[in-house]
Symmetry: C2
């Protein structure tokens, strides 16, 4: 659950005075999300999302994220647009924490993913990647292949019998990870929660706070895991084909990228397995902050073990 | 935190098909509130609150609450208006639980209460009480004076040294509780969280799920506790005077009611002390479901001990 900071009236008023959006009509804390405090603000000039960044490290990277959203939106990617204060800045301070206002995007995240969602998503990620080419900032992926071992070591003793198998997988990935694929700005966390659809169109890509510079095709590894498995664990090849064909239509994958998909998907599965294992031990449980099952990602990882070439993903 | 039920796409779609509100534009879980799941729905026809009632007992009383909101709104009280489905019913089912859509009200709950808020609130409660006179349904107060002892017994051992003092207070209130004051529909839980203000007007009275039939002036006892103390525990007599004068302008209190205010305020303080004590032992802690400090209400109760007549409340 996502509201940690309660905002005193005067501080909210002083904050909103920095914008030219008219008077506050309503404010509601948003339950979704985990890392930051999010509020839906009804202003005379429209509806906005107010985010208070709770983690210091994100505050440091905030200019990167806000500039990126601004850039992508200007290139037609359906991202939230950060709103400038009257001082020309998008990054502000509220309750002594970094804060920003962004535009509210209509649309609904699919709870049940259909192949058509995957087609539109694939096109959307490709547009995101293409638009990112003209963005002149970099941010290292703090959850890339070289960060998995330290993460794994912090989960020592948690994974029980799996520990040896995970170690073997980690060794394999470290040795065989494709390091020369085309790089650019990736979303890095494009789960169905972070995509909105409206009238059969992708209307929003949100939560860019894992965005970074990495192999573009790695985003597809993340999405193969997050969008193409059924709730019972079965892999849905139609969804994967839709995702990749959608992508290829806008930004055709190179042969190297296509061939790397199985290992990228394994790596992405391991990344989410490890962060979930970490969270399992470090986060208390609660409604809507339900800790996510790490084992789901072990099952997905094992599926990718059996994929020897891209035809396993419908290509 | 208030979102417990995750709604599958198809169930939400089928639910919304029962209304004539156009297509769904957005849905956000609302963080505020504890008992039920609340979502803010953007529909083509406007913005609505979807509530899924998580507790069975509330489901049974739901027709009372929904009829009450409808009645009060029709009398000009700024309550949410339940929306009728195409079958003419306001109460529907979603995810096998009772559910309803109500209108969204603009406005902001004051974090820092000013005397002017109290004036408007007093007028608003009085209008609520007057409008309730023509509402032909009853609901017993399940948290009235005769329910405090059983609640206290369920908190045995929790209040430590205070236990004897609480027992003494309970004895006193049971013996001296004013039982012949004018009765009607009360809100029963009108904390600042449950009131919205916009442009210096009371724009919303929400969360009517404690509404019941009881002594009207008891609502003022609740509000004296909830609106008229500072964060440091000091009683603010200006706020109390504003509250009661505002009320008197719309529905003049009888002498009996005015004289009963100190004991009603003591009773209300004990009621919240006891429910907080109960929740303290029966609810896990978490962000935005922070258990509320019962001792706050013991301090308030002790203040009311020192009030011998209504002049202590500025009258």
């Amino acid at each position: 659950m996502a509201v940690y900071t309660e905002i005193p009236d005067e501080e909210l008023e002083a904050f909103l005075d920095r914008y030219a959006l008219g008077k506050l009509q309503s404010i509601k804390g948003i339950a979704e999300g985990i890392e930051n405090s999010n509020y839906l603000l009804g202003m005379e000039q429209g509806t906005f999302i107010l985010t208070i960044y709770e983690k210091r490290v994100e505050g440091q990277d905030l200019p990167f994220y806000l500039n990126l959203m601004e850039h992508l939106a200007s290139e037609g990617v359906p991202c939230p647009v950060p709103v400038k204060g009257q001082n020309g800045q998008t990054q502000q301070t509220l309750c002594d924490k970094p804060a920003a206002l962004v535009s509210f995007l209509n649309g609904v995240s699919p709870r049940r993913v259909l192949p058509d969602h995957c087609t539109k998503l694939g096109q959307g990620i490709a547009s995101f990647h293409v638009a990112g080419k003209t963005f002149n900032h970099e941010r290292k992926n703090t959850l890339s292949v070289d960060k998995w071992r330290p993460l794994f070591e912090q989960c020592a003793g948690v994974a029980d019998q799996l520990e040896k198998e995970i170690a073997r997988e980690l060794n394999f990935l470290e040795e065989n990870w494709p390091r020369s694929l085309p790089k650019g700005i990736i979303h890095g966390d494009l789960f169905p929660d972070n995509a909105f659809f409206l009238d059969n169109k992708l209307s929003g890509i949100i939560d860019l706070y894992f965005a970074c510079t990495d192999a573009l095709a790695y985003d597809l590894g993340v999405c193969l895991n997050a969008w193409c498995f059924e709730k019972d664990g079965a892999f849905n090849i139609s969804k994967a084909r839709s995702l990749l064909s959608g992508y290829n239509k806008v930004r055709p994958l190179s042969a190297d990228e296509t061939n790397a998909l199985p290992i990228l998907a394994r790596g992405a599965a391991l990344r989410f397995l490890l962060t979930r294992l970490y969270d399992w031990t470090h986060t208390p449980d609660g409604p809507m902050t339900r800790r996510k099952d790490p084992m789901e990602y072990w099952q997905k990882l094992k599926f990718h073990h059996g994929v020897n070439n891209p035809s396993g993903y419908g290509l």
